[in-house]
């Protein structure tokens, strides 16, 4: 320092101190916003206001930490636990059911929401004869499911009854002229990082497994049933999964329920197990077959 100042004349030395003070003041002034943000973050954090609960998704999901495909889309390839409800009544069964508190009023004069019991087990509980669960009940069954995703397709295979849904993602419209189906006709598209799957062309069938809890309340959807599913990574191991129900023959308005699916990479080694219901269905309709 001495050597440096040696080359500076007296006049310059007189100017040195004000210049230093100005630099220091400028550094402090410029650092104020940084300090402010830091202090504000501390204050908000102490109040529990984190980016996750303010914006409804984690900072990881908003950034690049979620799985992504080579073209930058969220990558849902993998094996998952079945969708679990975030709230609502538990079923006297092993499946997830819809929360009745979310149901809008039934449409006056509409189709019956609860299928009357007739005493015929083939009518009262077709699943006991290995008939399909259909969508969305099958999707909510308590088994693993696997998702295979390419640029143009998503395939969802659920272990229960080996339910298979092939969902085009290439922008095509719904197929026309289909007979109504148990699992519907699905097409998907991306809205940012959310995959939106629109499904129509259902036959009248069970909505969920609530009849396990109360056989007299066998919830049915109509043949006007229409669903919209929304999938997005909530965090790097959890998929937020929402189903919107639009059934104008039964409900006065559409309604939605939120679920979560946990990624289970450790289940991938064993993969999905086979499920052929007809193999050994010993007591269909409550009548057990011989040993």
């Amino acid at each position: 320092m001495r050597k440096l100042f040696a080359s500076v004349n007296v006049k310059d030395q007189a100017l040195e101190r004000p210049v230093k003070r100005a630099k220091l003041a400028r550094i402090l002034w410029l650092s104020l916003p940084v300090c402010g943000v830091f202090l504000a973050a501390l204050a908000l954090g102490s109040l529990g206001w984190t980016p996750e609960n303010v914006y409804g998704q984690s900072s990881a999901a908003a950034g690049k930490e979620i799985p992504r495909t080579a073209d930058g889309k969220p990558d849902f390839n993998g094996i998952y636990e079945w969708p679990k409800a975030l709230s609502g009544e538990m079923c006297k069964c092993s499946a997830t059911i819809f929360d009745k508190t979310r149901f809008p009023p039934l449409k006056p004069g509409g189709e019956p929401f609860f299928e009357p019991r007739t005493g015929d087990p083939r009518h009262d509980e077709p699943r006991d004869f290995c008939m399909p669960a259909g969508f969305p009940a099958g999707m909510l069954s308590a088994n693993a499911l696997q998702i295979s995703q390419t640029k143009n397709y998503m395939v969802i295979v659920h272990e229960f009854q080996r339910m298979t849904r092939i969902i085009p993602l290439d922008g095509r419209p719904h197929r026309e002229g289909l007979e109504p189906t148990y699992y519907g006709d699905s097409v998907g598209h991306w809205e940012g990082d959310t995959l939106v799957v629109d499904t129509t062309e259902f036959k009248r069938w069970q909505l969920d497994d609530y009849f396990y809890t109360n056989p007299k309340e066998y919830r049915m959807h109509s043949d006007a049933f229409h669903t919209i599913e929304r999938m997005r990574w909530k965090d790097p191991t959890t998929v937020a999964y929402q189903i919107t129900i639009d059934d104008p023959k039964i409900f006065t308005t559409s309604w939605s329920q939120d679920f979560e699916m946990k990624a289970k990479p450790d289940w991938d080694k064993a993969g999905l197990y086979e499920y052929v219901c007809e193999e050994n269905n010993r007591c269909p309709g409550g009548k057990c077959q011989g040993q």
Partner: protein, 133 residues
């Protein structure tokens, strides 16, 4: 080690009604008719939609009757860490469940206890099981 998790499930869920995966419990079994039997395993069917195992049970009169018991789906049980050889022919077991609605010698078999006190939860449900009434 896998069996340890299996037995822990039994401790947590003992006394529960086994929930069935592909049909409602009441479609086939009678909640008002609990059964508890001791006998020797004669056959195991590790198949869908539910495993079945058969047990020779000796009655008070000395007569032996073969009973069938239904459990969960093989996939559900295996993913829970319950291997297919958990129950084998020749084993002596105590089985607790509910009798078939048709009155036949069949029942749900949600809980199996071995002579050394170890219990196995063989029902289909995982964590959403109602308590027995």
């Amino acid at each position: 080690m896998r069996l340890r998790a299996f037995f822990l499930s039994a401790v947590i869920l003992s006394g529960a009604i086994p929930a069935m995966a592909h049909h409602s419990f009441t479609a086939e079994f009678d909640e008002s008719k609990p059964v508890k039997m001791t006998g020797t395993v004669t056959k195991v069917e590790w198949q869908n939609p539910h495993i079945w195992f058969f047990v020779d049970v000796k009655g008070d009169d000395g007569r032996v009757t073969n009973w069938g018991f239904a459990g969960g789906a093989p996939g559900q049980l295996m993913r829970r860490g319950i291997p297919r050889d958990s129950i084998k022919p020749g084993m002596t077991v105590i089985v607790e469940g509910f009798r078939a609605k048709d009155g036949s010698n069949n029942a749900s078999g949600g809980k199996v206890t071995f002579p050394d006190g170890r219990s196995v939860f063989t029902a289909g449900s995982e964590d959403q099981v109602p308590k027995a009434k």
